[in-house]
């Protein structure tokens, strides 16, 4: 009996060693080309979940050595998937801040080991915000059925449901937004069944009816003021139109749009003629971090929807006085569509106030529908802007958000296959230079093979959202809602 036990123990101990290739004596044959997701030479934060990946070709076994400054992971895998142990991974990257982790892959095919030249992953010093909140819905147009807003821990693979259509069937949920990346102040919209705007402030959740008699629709596309006393909204009348051919499947047309700012304490919607002109389309508001400027996209009104492909948005700004809740009398144009013939949308300013990222497409304000859409970066000091070539692809790049320390951005892109939107992260240094982006890590590298939902509206969060789907459901379904008032004289 003891002999049997000893034999089993010996087998268990010796077996992994048998599966370990003789790495030191194997000559690297080439660069490792075939990994998915492409994590080669990316820059990652020191608190990101394991970058699990797979070899795209056939292989029987894989042996991997990931070595950092202080720690090393050596592990063999059967099949083609590399799944790092979470604790060891955290130790590895935590001990490799401002340094590289070198990953050496040996692949066994039909009993033969092949070693590839190692690739590096640079571990930055700057941590990324703990959570990412995003929406999952199936790619399609006009209608929806299943969707949800989820909160993902970026340090691990844990996902918490914020709201899901399984809990609120028939309800469209969108535009979750936090004040300064802190979900202690959160707003989100519900449409169709139990529609309304949900405002979550300091653990108090209430439903508000944002439409006043001076607005032609409910508020949408929110952006919080730094003080958390105001939320800028866009009010849109949106139609979807479809393309007869080509990769541009659909477009969302803003038939009319204005910008309003919700004064939470006064429960009033305020605006300015500069933000709600009849002859202009104003949308996607964004406050500067000091709260003194409101940026937005603005275009001249055209005959819609016929002339939609001629609608081009500029990035403009107007000053805002937080104390009086009033706007300046002049609009500045930061990036002009008249000069370039391009359309600029979704301005997002870094929390340190240094840079703005926005989308550039041929027309329109909803870049997720435009395959040519790219991200550009504007230096708010020099007012110069350029394409973020390192992070752009041949497919759509769209919604972008900044981490609270301004060093990381999360953006959505269809680059994986042209249809499904996914979330990527990129490091932005103090001079505004971007590094190669990486895909939101998933525990299973095969995750995207069978996942039929898109990820969109990525928003960083520094804390967990303090509510749950059933509480949201209860409030959303209640008849009690706060009716927002139109602007009174301040």
């Amino acid at each position: 009996m003891n002999l049997h036990l000893f034999a089993i123990l010996l087998f268990v101990l010796v077996q992994p060693a048998c599966n370990r290739p003789d790495i030191e004596n194997l000559e690297p044959v080439s660069d490792c080309q075939d990994i998915f997701p492409d994590y080669k030479e990316v820059t990652i934060p020191p608190n990101i979940a394991p970058l699990n990946f797979r070899m795209t070709g056939e292989c029987d076994r894989i042996y991997i050595v990931a070595s950092g400054k202080n720690h090393k992971i050596e592990k063999g895998f059967s099949g083609n998937r590399i799944i790092f142990p979470e604790k060891k991974w955290q130790r590895l990257i935590d001990g490799s801040k401002n340094d590289t982790v070198k990953i050496t892959i040996c692949v066994n095919r039909a009993g033969e080991w092949t070693r590839y030249r190692p690739f590096s992953v640079f571990v930055g010093e700057d941590e990324i915000d703990e959570f990412l909140v995003y929406r999952n819905l199936m790619p399609g147009f006009q209608n929806w059925n299943q969707m949800g807003i989820y909160q993902r821990s970026l340090r691990s693979f844990k996902v918490k449901t914020v709201l899901d259509s399984r809990v609120m069937p028939g309800t469209c949920m969108n535009c979750h937004s936090f004040a300064g990346n802190d979900p202690v102040n959160m707003v989100m919209h519900l449409r169709e069944n139990y529609g309304g705007t949900l405002l979550f402030r300091n653990d108090r959740l209430e439903k508000i009816s944002t439409r006043t008699d001076k607005m032609f629709a409910n508020a949408a596309l929110p952006y919080w003021h730094t003080s958390a006393k105001y939320i800028a909204f866009s009010v849109n009348r949106i139609n979807q139109i479809f393309h007869a051919t080509g990769t541009n499947r659909a477009s969302a047309v803003d038939l009319r749009s204005d910008i309003f700012v919700y004064d939470i304490e006064r429960n009033e919607m305020i605006t300015s003629p500069l933000l709600s002109a009849e002859e202009k389309l104003e949308t996607f508001p964004c406050f500067s971090p000091d709260g003194r400027t409101l940026y937005f996209s603005s275009a001249d009104m055209k005959e819609l929807p016929g002339e939609y492909s001629k609608v081009r948005y500029s990035i403009c700004s107007v000053s805002f006085d937080e104390n009086s809740g009033t706007f300046g009398s002049v609009t500045d144009t930061l990036v002009s569509s008249f000069l370039t013939g391009k359309s600029y949308s979704i301005p997002r300013v870094s929390p340190d106030g240094g840079f703005m990222i926005f989308t550039v497409s041929d027309f329109g304000s909803f870049p997720s529908f435009n395959p040519e859409s790219d991200l550009y970066l504007l230096d708010l000091g020099s007012k110069e802007y350029c394409s973020m070539d390192v992070i752009n692809s041949d497919y759509t790049e769209s919604y972008c958000s900044w981490s609270s320390d301004s060093r990381w951005v999360a953006f959505s892109s269809r680059r994986m296959d042209g249809l499904f939107m996914n979330i990527y992260f990129a490091f932005i240094d103090k001079n505004g230079n971007a590094r190669k982006p990486f895909l939101l890590p998933q525990k299973d590298p095969d995750f995207h093979d069978s996942f039929l939902f898109s990820f969109n509206v990525p928003e960083f969060a520094v804390n967990k959202i303090g509510t749950n789907p059933y509480r949201i459901r209860r409030v959303a379904r209640s008849k009690a809602s706060v009716q927002v008032k139109p602007e009174s004289s301040h």
């Binding site: 399609g140 209608n143 479809f242 051919t245 296959d417």
Partner: protein, 607 residues
């Protein structure tokens, strides 16, 4: 002894006959429903798929049910699966009744839950996984009954209630009720009411506690059967309810030990259940939809002659049948000749609107016509919405269509994603691997008939349009490829069915051209003649067309009767009911009700 054997044989004859009938029914009379059920799911023998089942109650029965449902793809596969699983159900119910002390003619009461299950299976929303759940909960009930020590039995019951909820979903209520009835009638312990309360509390609390994990509403969590059955109906629970009632009677009679009453009760209750089963079967099966699904299946194989033959044979009057009839006629070049020989619910017989007001079934089918017309982007839009509204957001048939669309559009990355999924299935693998050869391979695509053919008829230039602007896209298709005869016929018939004569005349003159004088198809002649008769046009406007003298004679007669009776359609219906003139004057579309047993659409004759 001989009499006993005869009685046993007679006792077993009815179930045997019913099983044979059920197999024949599901194999030959309801097979298109089963085939369609297979398309609404996707079973991949991967760990991912297994793990995805864990995100809902009834994970084991769901997984097993999905595994078995994939065989519905095969001819007779669905019927065979239902036969075997329901046979197991019957045997296990029989065993349960024997175990509880019921011995007289056990075959007859034990067939009742099976009959009700067959009735429930008549709906797409009751998948075979629920039948598996039923078998599982009865099996666990038998295990429970076999435990002799009361204390161990009670503990086992308390453990099995939550376990069964996780494994088999809402049918765990059967186990809960069965063990409560067992304790009530078979236990003499003073604490039995405490045990009953304990079981009831566990059964109520467990689903409510797990609803957050499964993301269900309270009611959904208590009644969850499958992803296809999010809103459970009474009929979905009738198999379980029937067995609970039978068990209750058996236990009660065992308790009071009145043999006479036993037979009286069962004699009374069994016929009631047989009648209920029959009624459920009659109300839950949908033969109208079965016919439509048959048309759809034949159409998916491009067997248009067969579609047309069946359409004529069925003579249905609803927009889905009209949709397939019109498509078949267009494919066979018969649309403008025979349009009015078939039921036409205005233009909804040409295109199915794609919006949230439609049910998932119509949205699933709506992409077909765009695909055949060459409007692949609209087909994609409809297919994506079909996926979105599919009860499980996965649909093998629509995935295949999306592969085809994206190969035609050279969007190989998208096509590859769906191919990779299909390649992990047992029965769609071969199809997927054949399409994989087309990816990123223009030469192979050019050699493949359906790809090159479709690429020649897709619109040559882009156009922005709103949902439902059918005329715009048909015109674009024709301008891109004047040889697209189906698009021309669809446009002209759309104008006619929309009763837009000016548009019809304009489009006919524009797109129906020839150097020589042209003999027009029947319905186009009728359209032009009524345009002339109404004074919109003169005969000289259409000199380039040859009219059948018989048609000219007939419209004169039509106008005479129309005028003579003050436009009363009843005097025209007999002789002119199949003309466009009659449609033009008298067609009134009545709202089609959705769902089973809805009356057929009608074109009324009132003016």
């Amino acid at each position: 002894m001989k009499n006993q054997i005869k009685k046993r044989k007679a006792d077993g004859l009815l179930p045997g006959l019913l099983f044979a009938l059920a197999f024949v029914f599901f194999c030959f009379f309801y097979d298109h429903h089963l085939f369609f059920s297979e398309q609404l799911q996707i079973f991949m023998l991967t760990s991912d798929h297994f793990i995805s089942c864990l995100s809902k109650p009834a994970f084991l029965s769901s997984w097993t049910g999905d595994f078995l449902t994939q065989f519905f793809y095969l001819k007779g596969g669905g019927a065979f699966v239902i036969l075997i699983t329901s046979l197991i159900l019957w045997l296990i119910v029989r065993e349960l009744l024997l175990k509880t002390g019921y011995e007289k003619k056990v075959n007859l009461p034990s067939i009742i839950p099976v009959l009700l299950t067959w009735a429930a299976l008549g709906s797409i929303h009751y998948p075979v996984s629920v039948l598996i759940s039923f078998i599982m909960v009865i099996a666990f009930t038998l295990v429970y009954f076999r435990i002799r020590t009361e204390r161990i039995r009670i503990i086992t019951g308390a453990i099995l209630i939550p376990l069964l909820y996780v494994l088999a979903g809402g049918y765990f209520w059967f186990f809960t009720f069965a063990i409560i009835v067992h304790v009530l009638f078979r236990s003499d312990e003073k604490a039995r009411f405490i045990y009953i309360a304990l079981f009831a509390v566990i059964a109520i609390i467990v689903p409510l506690l797990l609803k957050g994990f499964y993301l269900l509403t309270a009611w959904q969590s208590l009644t969850y059967l499958s992803e296809m059955t999010l809103r459970s109906r009474v009929i979905d629970y009738l198999p379980v309810i029937s067995l609970i009632i039978i068990l209750l009677l058996v236990f009660y009679e065992g308790k009071v030990k009145r043999q006479d009453n036993r037979s009286v009760l069962l004699v009374l209750i069994l016929p009631v259940f047989y009648v209920i089963s029959g009624l459920c079967f009659a109300t839950n099966t949908d033969f109208r939809m079965e016919k439509i699904l048959r048309l759809d299946r034949e159409a998916s194989r491009n067997r248009w002659e067969r579609v047309y033959e069946l359409s004529k044979k069925y003579g249905m009057r609803n927009r889905l049948s009209a949709y397939y009839t019109n498509m078949a006629m267009a494919k066979l070049g018969l649309l403008p000749e025979k349009l009015m020989e078939h039921y036409q619910p205005a233009a909804t017989g040409l295109f199915i609107p794609v919006n949230a007001d439609e049910d998932f079934l119509t949205i699933t089918l709506s992409n077909e016509v765009y695909w055949h017309l060459g409007d692949v982007n609209s087909s994609q839009h409809a297919a994506l919405l079909g996926m979105i509204f599919s009860p499980r957001a996965k649909n093998t048939r629509l995935m295949k269509r999306l592969v085809e669309i994206n190969v035609v559009n050279r969007e190989y990355g998208v096509a590859e994603k769906y191919i990779n999924i299909l390649a992990k299935t047992m029965f769609h693998r071969r199809w997927a691997e054949a399409r994989r050869l087309l990816l990123y391979n223009e030469e192979e695509c050019e050699k493949t008939g359906w790809v090159s053919e479709k690429r020649t008829i897709i619109p040559a230039k882009d156009l922005l349009r709103k949902e439902g602007e059918y005329r715009l896209i048909l015109e674009l298709l024709i301008e891109s490829n004047p040889g697209n005869r189906m698009a021309v016929d669809y446009l002209l018939c759309f104008d006619l069915l929309d009763r837009n004569l000016p548009a019809f005349v304009d489009n006919l003159v524009k797109y129906y051209r020839s150097d020589a004088r042209l003999s027009l198809p029947q319905v186009y002649q009728e359209g032009l003649l009524i345009s002339i008769a109404s004074g919109r046009n003169t005969p000289e406007d259409f000199n380039q067309y040859i009219f059948d003298p018989e048609n000219i004679k007939r419209i004169a007669e039509y106008i005479r009767i129309y005028d003579a009776h003050g436009g009363d359609g009843r005097f025209l219906e007999k002789d002119f009911g199949n003309t466009y003139w009659f449609y033009y004057h008298f067609a009134v579309m009545k709202q089609e009700k959705k769902g089973k047993n809805a009356p057929e659409d009608r074109i009324t004759g009132s003016s």
